[in-house]
Amino acid sequence: MADDALLFCSFDSGRDGLPAGAEEVLTLARSVASARGVDLDWLVVGPMPAGVAEAAAVHGVSHVDHVDDPRLGEFLPDVVVAAIAGYCARQQPASLFFSQTFDARLVAPRVAARLGVGVVMNVVDLLATGEGLVATTTAYGGDTRVEYEIAGHAVFGVAGESILPEPAASPGAATPRSIAVELSGTRERIRTVKKARSEGPRLEEAQIIVAGGRGLQEAENYRLVEDLAAALGGLAGASRPIVDDGWTDSSHQVGLTGKITRPVLYIAAGISGASQHMVGCTAAKTLVAINTDSDAAIFKYARYGIVGDCVEVLPALTRAVKGG
């Protein structure tokens, strides 16, 4: 057993048979594993998603390790942390990689504490340097990049939005192994009293998003955003300031502390382009900005721009879309 193998950990079923962000994280982790000449393994905690075996082979994974238990059917944080820590005690992997989902933001640092190693979140790039690693992360809501130097092993939360998944030069064996971890002694301390109910389609998966910001001037103009989104068959998003002001609810918030989206078309209306917002929409294929200020930062990110008042331009766009 290569006890210095790098390990990608996943514990969600994701969508389309793959845990969220799996291919992006595997692409990044493999680049380090190749530079080091060590194995890349994949630990799947809980039910095995259908697409894991194929993705593991494509991305050069040596072993697909499975830790399963009836209590891993739904996300119980204490049980998941215990399962990963138990696996690590047995298999002794080197650095651990998580796709930085909402739940991984909690699980990754807790696992790092159990293992007594450092933890770095918001990782967008990683380089092997001699004995150590240098992790590039976003900071100040995306305004700056910060590089962290790690001497030994660590736990990484990877924000994979900017990583382009690439298959390995040669496929991996992806040998499945079942690893037994004793979880009967672990008591889950968190009880869910009321589950989150995802109502309707999610911004994260929307193909078209129209988002509004302070440039809408008043709360009732958020309707203009919703109208255009409806005309385009898309969803309505929002910048954090207007969510904080209650113009719409936080399920519409795009950005660092909201939804990370990757639509085909993102129309930003009356949004200045603060980094904290852009983190949530720069993965859009085509970004359109509407702003009265031609110097607004949003135009640096946009493919197409309209300098104008979004309160006038949005209804005009709705008419143009419907009229065509």
Partner: protein, 267 residues
């Protein structure tokens, strides 16, 4: 019951954003530190909301003391603000946070809490607006062997139970756990209260309690960083925006819709 709120002093993220937008952010000779003294130093906004969450518990009739603690060289101003908001005790651990990592900070804060005889509830902001790491609360939870509940918009206490409304990507979720617990607060909690002039005046005379590695029985090795910041730089953005002209909003709109249809972005 005792509530401990952990706060961090940060550079005003809006000011940093403004400098970045105008291409004027200055990074010092060490390649890491943002050196412009014109950038205000503030309490991390999520941490201020964590204090607000504690004060709302008191408002709801929970008999509690609220202790606010900060690791940093000169956080006296933000700690006085915490006192003006309503904190009962303010404590400073005067160490340079730039020389510590999340593990070191969490080790110090957990030792402070243990030294106090424990806390029923530890409240933290969901993340710091400078490094955005958000790992310290989870690490404190592990060090105290306490459950950790993240991204709260509301916190209630019912006997020995803590009930938390979390803002998840799928909407609000309500969870319960027993205290002691660590809870992180998100911006959805709402605007923190503004201290009255009287309270601000009174807080101005307060001197924070000092805690040191020695008084917390910690060795330098126990808080030595496992990860070190070696470089910070401004992320570059490639601008190639094509502006859509038109005399009226309708003209601009039809031109844009025409372009998007031609490129098959929309049907």
């Amino acid at each position: 019951m005792r509530i401990v709120v952990c706060v961090k002093e940060v550079l005003d993220p809006d000011a940093v954003d403004n400098y970045v937008l105008h291409g004027k952010l200055v990074i010092g000779d060490d390649g890491v530190t943002l050196t412009q003294t014109s950038i205000p130093r503030l309490m991390n906004a999520y941490d201020e909301q964590a204090i607000e969450a504690a004060l709302r518990l008191r408002d709801a009739g929970i008999d509690c003391t609220i202790d606010v603690v900060c690791v940093g060289l000169e956080p006296t101003a933000i700690l006085r603000h915490a006192a003006a908001m309503g904190a009962d005790e303010i404590t400073i651990v005067p160490l340079d946070q730039a020389k510590l990592d999340g593990r070191g900070i969490a080790t110090i804060l957990a030792a402070y809490i243990k030294n106090k005889g424990g806390a029923d509830l530890v409240l933290c902001g969901r993340q710091a607006s400078d490094d955005d790491q958000g790992v310290v609360p989870a690490l404190i939870g592990e060090l105290l062997d306490a459950p950790v509940v993240t991204i709260a918009r509301a916190v209630e206490i019912d006997g020995d139970q803590v009930r938390v409304t979390r803002v998840t990507p799928d909407g609000d979720e309500v969870v319960e756990t027993s205290r002691p617990a660590v809870v992180t607060i998100s911006n959805e909690l709402g605007t923190p209260r503004y201290p009255t002039t009287m309270r601000t005046m009174k807080a101005r005379k307060l001197t924070p309690v000092q805690a040191t590695l020695e008084s917390l029985s910690l060795s330098a090795a126990e808080v030595a960083p496992l990860v070190r910041v070696t470089r910070q730089y401004v992320s570059s953005v490639q601008g190639n925006c094509q502006f859509i002209d038109g005399a009226t909003a309708d003209e601009q709109a039809s031109a844009l819709v025409g372009v998007l249809r031609a490129e098959r972005v929309i049907s």
